[in-house]
């Protein structure tokens, strides 16, 4: 089983908690051992990026993605992949589609 460690950022870690649940349900079906949590994007300066494989950004905070990416690079993670979650998959909590997309980015 492939291990993946991910985090989802949205405005106040409310709606992203639904996506966390959807991903946790979908991952085992794709033979993935997924550890995923959610956080408020506002407090990105307090994040610890170590051990993360991918950062997922909720569509409504896409305006912060660049800043967060820059911050991760400053902290020594310039190659950390970022994934902007598409609106529809986010709204409908499409866990499997998101896992597929995640795998595509991680290769």
């Amino acid at each position: 089983m492939r291990k993946i460690n991910a985090v989802i950022l949205c405005a106040s870690a409310m709606s992203s908690s639904m996506i966390v649940e959807a991903l946790q349900k979908a991952a085992p079906k794709k033979d993935i051992d997924l550890t995923v949590s959610c956080s408020a994007s506002l407090r990105y300066r307090t994040f610890d990026f170590s051990g993360l494989d991918i950062v997922m950004i909720a569509p409504q905070v896409k305006g912060q993605m660049k800043d967060i990416q820059k911050f991760a690079a400053e902290k020594g993670y310039p190659d950390l992949p970022f994934m902007l979650i598409p609106m529809r998959e986010y709204g409908l909590a499409k866990g499997e589609a998101l896992v597929d997309q995640m795998l595509k980015i991680l290769g």
């Binding site: 409504q60 305006g63 609106m87 709204g91």
Partner: protein, 425 residues
């Protein structure tokens, strides 16, 4: 998807918002001092929520109950005073830490301590003759002073570090210990600066700032402030940007907190409640079930003939009750959906905001004085935040029905389109 002329115009318009309105607001919202203030405020909210609970108990809406509570009022009010009226003191701790995170080399705890010390010297220099502090500045009345003091503190500490105005110890000294010495010199300079300013020169930054801010406070409590807020909120959300971060939660938040603290103080003192606009105001009248009053819309689609809309509605109803509506916004989607532009931007939240403002202004319903979690469900939200005014509950129920009626034709129109598309597939 079929598009007509109306929809093409809408597309153009939303493109325009995305290109010209959103970027400067997003940039401002992401500005690091701004973001730190917002994050710090949000972290002190639980204390403010707890702090307004004793007020509910001392001003119960039923007279016999209120009389029964009267003997305990004074003691309960201490609990209120030590939380709500000291909010800026606690905010100083959280703001110091949040600002410290901007700079790698700064220790959050040390910046918090220096911020609190400089802030207390500025708003409440001790009266040694009687050994007392004047605690007025610890309430929301010292909030804007704190912002200035805290930013000066963190920026100076960073400046001092960059320009070697610190005491350096050999590398073998553990980081934490070295830090406590390193910051001694800039810390001393900061304390002496604020001491000089307040105690020696006698410059009262707090009253000067309150004078500067008071017209702003007045403006942030007007119907046009509410209208602009609601409009920006809707426009930003329409293009899929979390509008609350830049309006209600962003720029307005300190003012909304100052307003509700003022309202609470008025209730504690038994005088008329002065302000209309507070955070619970927006959650009661602008966002029933989230921005754009999507809860009535979700209810309309619960039994939709379109499997897609039915799925979205069922997924959205529970989060919607707690004012989280991303599933509707992105799932339907409402975001960038030309058909939804008119009701979403102009006919729902904006109307509701004006409805709430006018009813409060003419005294048919009460202004909020209790800070409650923004995820509090509808009906409970207006009830609890006004200390139990049933008129607010009725007014919100009526608004819910009005919103359902406004959403209805658009809900049906979009449903027909969805069914047609699903049939084609």
């Amino acid at each position: 998807m079929k598009t007509n002329k109306f929809e093409a115009t809408m597309d153009k318009f939303s493109g325009w918002i995305e290109q010209y309105i959103a970027p400067p607001l997003v940039k401002m919202g992401n500005q690091r001092h701004f973001a730190a203030i917002r994050a710090a405020l949000i972290r002190t909210i639980p204390l403010i929520i707890i702090g307004s609970l004793p007020l509910i108990l001392t001003s119960l809406p039923v007279e016999s109950l209120a009389n029964a509570m009267a003997p305990y009022a004074e003691k309960l009010n201490i609990l209120y005073a030590m939380t709500m009226n000291f909010m800026t003191l606690y905010l100083a701790i959280s703001l110091g830490a949040e600002l410290a995170r901007m700079y790698e080399e700064q220790d959050a705890t040390i910046i918090s301590i220096v911020t609190v010390a400089c802030y207390i010297i500025t708003v409440a220099p001790v009266n040694l003759a009687d050994n007392v502090l004047d605690v007025t500045g610890f309430s929301a009345k010292g909030m804007f002073t704190l912002f200035v003091v805290a930013i000066i503190v963190v920026e100076f500490m960073h400046f001092a570090y960059k320009h070697n105005i610190i005491i350096r110890l050999p590398k073998s000294v553990p980081h934490g210990i070295a830090q406590s010495f390193a910051s001694l010199l800039p810390m001393a300079l900061l304390l002496v600066f604020f001491w000089l300013l307040r105690v020696v020169i006698g410059f009262d930054l707090n009253s000067v700032l309150n004078m500067v801010v008071s017209p702003l406070l007045a403006v942030t409590d007007t119907w046009y402030a509410a209208l602009i807020c609601a409009l920006l909120l809707q426009l930003l959300w329409f293009v899929g940007i979390h509008g609350g971060s830049f309006t209600v939660w962003g720029v307005m938040y300190p003012f909304l907190l100052a307003n509700i603290a003022d309202n609470a103080a008025a209730v504690a003192a038994g005088t008329a409640v002065p302000h209309i606009l507070t955070e619970p105001f927006f959650y009661s009248w602008t966002m029933i079930g989230g921005v754009g009053m999507t809860l009535p819309l979700v209810v309309l689609w619960m039994k939709s003939k379109s499997p897609h809309l039915r799925e979205v509605a069922r997924l959205s109803i529970i989060p919607g009750i707690f004012c989280v509506n991303e599933p509707v916004m992105f799932g339907v989607p409402i975001v960038l959906n030309p058909l939804m532009f008119l009701p979403f931007v102009f006919l729902t939240s904006v109307l509701g905001t004006m409805y709430g403002y006018i009813l409060t202004a003419i005294g048919w319903i009460s202004p909020a004085y209790v800070q409650i979690p923004w995820t509090t469900p509808p009906l409970l939200q207006p009830y609890l935040s006004t200390g139990g005014d049933w008129r607010n509950v009725v007014a919100q129920a009526i608004l819910f029905v009005i919103m359902g009626i406004i959403w209805y034709p658009f809900a049906k129109l979009y449903e027909r389109r969805c069914i047609a598309e699903e049939g084609e597939e």
